[in-house]
């Protein structure tokens, strides 16, 4: 891995964001709206429930973690889309850059860009709505780590899909978090899902995280085994996503798609 080539990919993203208000705003505006909306909802639920149960760590905390996952995934895809929109594949992939370095550049760009949204999100949740990380204890670390790895994996897989199917496939990518959210049980236990949906849930690392989150809040239980499965699944998906991207890139070089990307298919 050449650090300078990775820096080039990250720096490109920095230059673009620095000069474009329309790229800066989406970094935090949607997560801020989401946290404000769910923050007031939890505040309302806390005011009307008679059991004095605190909804902040279960509802607002879960939304916060889910938004964190979405930010990470979209951080990777947004950085990749810049090359799609600028029709830059020919220039980029005719340089000495390796596919692994390119992917690493996307991941670091994602960390850098999503950290802005995450900071805003956490600021609002903690200081405006009284969210506390102490509710989860040390478990917050593996929760965030698993969601981070899973977000990166989905971002890379989504980028590979667009590389394979062409620029028009971009619209496949944006709804991915919304499509998987019912299966991972962000706001409810997956046990209420029909059995076919539960089978899909068991394959998604995020569903173990939200189950563990509720176990800590409701029962004070730290589900070690759940976290282990979630971690292993996330690493498995990251590996598969990288392999998928490399295979897609090789296919694109084999068929000439890299050089004629706007054609979407070479046949």
């Amino acid at each position: 891995m050449d650090f300078r080539r990775i820096t080039a990919i990250v720096l490109r993203q920095f230059y673009l964001i620095r000069s474009s208000f329309s790229r800066v705003l989406p970094l935090f505006i949607w997560v801020a709206v989401d946290i404000i909306l769910w923050g007031f909802l939890t505040r309302y639920l806390n005011s009307v429930n008679v059991t004095k149960f605190n909804f902040v760590p279960t509802l607002l905390g879960a939304v916060l973690l889910w938004d964190f996952f979405i930010r990470i995934m979209q951080g990777v895809t947004m950085s990749f889309f810049e090359d799609v929109w600028a029709r830059n594949f020919l220039n980029i992939f005719s340089t000495p850059i390796l596919v692994g370095e390119y992917l690493m550049g996307l991941v670091i760009s994602s960390i850098a860009t999503s950290s802005i949204g995450i900071a805003v999100m956490f600021f609002l949740a903690i200081f405006v709505f009284g969210f506390s990380f102490f509710s989860y204890g040390i478990a917050i670390v593996p929760f965030l780590l698993v969601l981070f790895i899973f977000g990166i994996a989905l971002g890379i897989a989504a980028s590979a899909l667009v590389l394979r199917l062409g620029p028009a496939a971009e619209w496949f990518i944006w709804p991915i978090p919304a499509i998987i959210s019912p299966f991972v049980g962000v706001l409810y236990p997956i046990t209420i899902l029909p059995s076919w949906m539960q089978k899909i849930s068991f394959l998604l690392p995020a569903s173990y995280i939200f189950t563990s989150l509720r176990a800590i809040i409701f029962e004070g239980n730290f589900l070690y085994f759940n976290l282990l499965i979630a971690g292993l699944l996330a690493i498995l998906y990251l590996t598969l996503a990288c392999l998928f991207f490399v295979a897609t890139y090789r296919h694109a070089v084999e068929t000439g798609l890299i050089a004629r990307y706007s054609a979407e298919t070479i046949s």
């Binding site: 050449d2 300078r4 080539r5 820096t7 080039a8 720096l11 490109r12 230059y15 673009l16 000069s19 474009s20 810049e82 600028a86 830059n88 020919l90 220039n91 980029i92 992939f93 005719s94 340089t95 000495p96 850059i97 390796l98 090789r250 070089v253 084999e254 068929t255 000439g256 890299i258 050089a259 070479i266 046949s267």
Partner: protein, 245 residues
């Protein structure tokens, strides 16, 4: 003539059953400018894309500085660069930002000084902080050429580099490239539809048609050998009746 910088052997590319490049072999020597000419769809860009490593050949080998690109892609690509009229640099970045990013990608040392040299060489200093997207097509071509010389390549691939330039700027660019190739002993593979340009700038010309090299030789001597007045006349004959050659 010394050692070759590029050696292409039996290069073939199929798209399905259609052959785009058919068993092409040639060499480019250090310091030599080789014109790759031929009608539209002859296989010039496909050949260049395979040398650039962005298109896998169906068969054949490509050696750059004695290294097989299939085995040492990253090392080989560090020794070369390219400019093509159909591959402008991202329009949403400034000239300097684009050149800085590509300097990092090519592992250029003393980046700012190298960028300034290329900006001066291609008369782009005034556009340093201008977004590439608002430049004229000729200015964008010059930015692309500046990018192509950033890493001081030993092999330069130019796909119609003067296509969008006015005659005066095109002449300046030809001189720039010629001077660079001579000074740095850089091999250049140059595609063009401007036969006058090829006669002026190239040491040798390869005439490609239907994916095959039909003729090869000195661009001023070759037409006479086949009873033609100039390269353009020879080009038209090959394009219309390749089998007669």
């Amino acid at each position: 003539m010394g050692e070759n910088i590029l050696s292409v052997n039996g290069l073939t590319k199929f798209y399905g059953k259609k052959v785009a490049v058919d068993n092409v072999s040639f060499e480019v020597w250090r310091g030599e400018i080789v014109g790759l000419v031929g009608p539209n769809g002859a296989g010039k860009t496909t050949t260049i894309n395979m040398i650039l490593g962005i298109l896998t050949p169906s068969s054949g080998t490509i050696f750059v500085a004695g290294m097989n690109i299939a085995d040492k892609r990253s090392t080989v690509l560090n020794l070369m660069n390219f400019s093509a009229v159909y591959a402008p640099l991202p329009g949403n970045l400034t000239v300097f930002e684009n050149l800085y990013i590509f300097s990092l990608l090519y592992g250029v040392k003393n980046i700012k000084s190298r960028i300034n040299q290329e900006l001066e060489r291609f008369k782009l200093t005034d556009f340093r902080n201008t977004k590439c997207g608002v430049l004229s097509s000729g200015e964008q071509t010059r930015v692309s050429l500046a990018k192509a010389l950033l890493n001081e390549p030993q092999l330069l691939l130019l796909d119609e580099p003067t296509a969008s330039l006015d005659p005066s700027v095109a002449e300046d660019i030809r001189m720039c490239i010629r001077e660079y190739a001579c000074q740095k002993k850089c091999g250049v593979l140059w595609t063009s539809h401007n036969m006058l340009e090829v006669e002026k700038v190239c040491d040798r010309v390869l005439l490609l048609s239907s994916g095959r090299i039909f003729l090869e030789g000195n661009p001023t001597m070759l037409p006479r050998k086949y009873g033609k007045v100039n390269l353009e006349e020879l080009f038209i004959s090959v394009a219309r009746q390749p089998l007669s050659f």
